[in-house]
């Protein structure tokens, strides 16, 4: 491995070590001492010959300059024969350099190609700032990584799970928005030193309080055995990292997979483009459907967790919040527990029941099938729910019921099992 093959374009940019050394040795020809000379002589052992012995003996400036010049010449002479005697290898070198020039530039780190080190100016691909600052990957590379990674995960019987934070796994409130009835909470906070057992935390430096949803720790532990998990929140990065520290103090569930709104490619929309997993193997758990318009088929909508009063007010509810009522969601019977059962069912169906090849499986199909099981066998009639002139089949409730496996009809007949109605009135229910 010689210097020649390594630098096919003999660059004189200060980036290249060999060129830099040459330049420095040339320029510092005036200040030298015998010791320095000897050291330099050893360093340049390639051109070792009788001249190095002479250097040790002589001490005058002119002598040094002559030696320096001869040393540089010797180096060039060494390089020249290598170039001229083997034209074949030169062509090989050119060939090698041209294949290096045809580098596909799979991605960049700090504006340099990660494969060849060249400076890149174009801005293609997706930035992965949440993994490490300055990392950017091209679309081909992302596809390649997704393919290899999904094969790896499927071998370990795991899928991907993207989790939202606010109102899904926890509920946060700003300290100034807390009501008088919530003041008692300030005396019940858990210590930030030992996070693994606590659920109510006060983050003074961020001026907020956070309550983790009941069952969340068990949920994360069980889900991590079936899924590789990501956090994807619409909060900023500092908030996302703090919450990750509370949920995952030992960095075993999420590691560096914490995505915040600063990392997304589109404002106000979440996307799977910055998740390094195949879309056919990703499940999303979120309380907001509008954030995932492009990936509705992967989404499992969660019931919102309103612990603090400010959260209730934000969504227009005038009732008292869980904190004001001094109660909480049930641990074993709450939303997280039920969604865990659903996730288990999907996981089981995906890996154990599907007959076809691993490559062809799609978790979205499995999700559709599981959804259809919910209202299986039900026949629903809607009464006073749709406006009179409205085309009933286009209403979102009708569509939702059909998605969940029910059959809907506009008329009452003996096979109807459920009636969905707005309010009881004299003309609503006819002869059941």
């Amino acid at each position: 491995m010689s210097l020649v093959t390594d630098s096919p374009v003999h660059s004189s940019s200060s980036d290249d070590f060999a060129a830099f050394l040459d330049a420095e040795l040339d320029s510092k020809s005036s200040d030298s001492s015998p010791n320095e000379e000897g050291a330099k002589g050893e360093f340049d052992s390639d051109s070792s010959d009788s001249s190095t012995n002479e250097e040790a003996e002589n001490d005058s400036d002119t002598e040094n300059q002559r030696i320096k010049r001869s040393r540089v010449e010797k180096l060039e002479n060494l390089e020249d024969p290598k170039r001229s005697t083997s034209n074949g290898s030169l062509e090989q070198n050119l060939g090698a350099s041209s294949s290096k020039d045809a580098c596909i530039h799979p991605g960049s780190f700090g504006d340099m190609c990660i494969l060849c080190g060249q400076k890149l100016n174009e801005e293609t691909g997706v930035t992965f700032g949440y993994i490490h600052k300055g990392l950017r990957l091209g679309n081909d590379e992302i596809m390649r990584l997704r393919n290899t990674d999904v094969k790896n995960l499927l071998c370990h019987k795991k899928l991907y799970l993207v989790l939202d934070l606010d109102h899904t796994l926890l509920n946060s409130t700003q300290l100034m928005h807390m009501t008088l009835e919530e003041e008692y909470l300030k005396s019940q906070i858990d210590s930030l030193q030992d996070v693994s057992n606590g659920s109510l935390f006060m983050l003074d430096f961020m001026h907020m309080m956070t309550k983790l949803r009941p069952f969340v720790r068990t949920f994360l532990k069980e889900a991590s055995q079936m899924f590789e998990m990501y956090i994807y929140t619409m909060g900023d990065r500092a908030y996302a990292l703090e919450m990750a520290k509370l949920l995952d103090p030992r960095r075993e569930y999420f590691n560096a997979r914490v995505i915040s709104r600063d990392d997304g490619t589109q404002r106000n929309q979440k996307g799977l483009d910055i998740v390094l997993g195949q879309e056919s193997a990703v499940l999303i758990l979120d309380d907001t459907e509008t954030a995932w318009t492009k990936h509705k088929d992967n989404l499992i909508l969660m019931e919102r967790y309103h612990f603090f009063a400010s959260s209730c007010h934000q969504f227009g509810f005038n009732c008292k919040s869980l904190s004001e009522l001094k109660s909480d969601e049930s641990d074993s019977d709450g939303a997280l527990a039920s969604v865990l059962k659903v996730l288990r069912k999907i996981h089981h169906m995906f890996f154990d029941e599907l007959v076809d090849n691993l490559d062809g499986r799609d978790v979205r199909q499995v999700l559709k099938t599981v959804r259809k099981d919910v209202l299986k066998g039900c026949k629903i009639v809607f009464s006073r729910v749709f406006p009179t002139q409205f085309q009933a089949e286009n209403h979102h409730l009708w569509k939702m019921a059909e998605q969940l496996g029910a059959t809907c009809s506009r008329e009452l007949d003996p096979s109807v099992t459920h009636v969905v109605s707005q309010k009881l009135g004299p003309r609503s229910l006819v002869g059941l």
Binding site: S7, D16, M112, G117, K119, G134, A256
Partner: protein, 176 residues
């Protein structure tokens, strides 16, 4: 690679620092300003080792600040393309691994990791050979070659490779 060089800088000093401790104030201000910074030409200034010369101060018109040209010796660290460095691994993921050699952040992509090393995910992600003999994980020490560098005001980024002879893990933290 580390170098011990002489650099020059024009330091501006507010008149409140004049007096008996003028020189000390100037030196401490210099240290505060320069140590830990980066420049494209010299790299990362690690520490100032001595002051060679402080020139005559020039009073600026209108402000009263005085500018002193200071020549100082310092140790700088600058990575070069083609240089071989030892670094400590800080993060391992499916794209490759990140390592640190002092203030320098180096990324080694999985394209430049030998083909016989595979990524293993888990709570301690790592790259392992098929027979399990060599493992790269967080806190392993590796010897790598720099193939590209970029310097900005506060940080130096490098791209590295371990796909050549004599490169790779030096010290396994598990067995150390």
């Amino acid at each position: 690679m580390f170098f011990h060089i002489v650099l020059e800088r024009n330091m501006q000093l507010h008149p409140r620092y004049f007096g008996r401790n003028l020189r000390d104030n100037l030196v401490s201000k210099l240290m505060k300003d320069v140590e830990g910074t980066c420049s494209g030409r010299h790299g990362f200034v690690v520490a100032i080792t001595g002051i060679e010369n402080i020139g005559k101060g020039l009073i600026r018109d209108g402000t009263g600040f005085v500018t002193f040209p200071v020549k100082y010796q310092c140790v700088v660290f600058r990575p070069f393309k083609g240089e071989i460095l030892e670094a400590v691994v800080t993060m391992v993921n499916k794209m490759g691994f990140f390592a640190e050699a002092g203030p320098v952040q180096i990324f080694v992509s999985n394209h430049l990791i030998p083909d016989d090393m595979e990524f293993q995910s888990g709570d301690m992600p790592n790259y392992t050979t098929s027979d399990g003999s060599v493992k790269i994980q967080k806190d392993s020490e590796v010897r790598l070659k720099i193939i590209g560098t970029r310097v900005d005001a506060t940080e130096i980024f490098c791209i590295g490779t371990i796909k050549d002879d004599f490169l790779g893990v030096i010290n396994d933290p598990a067995t150390a």
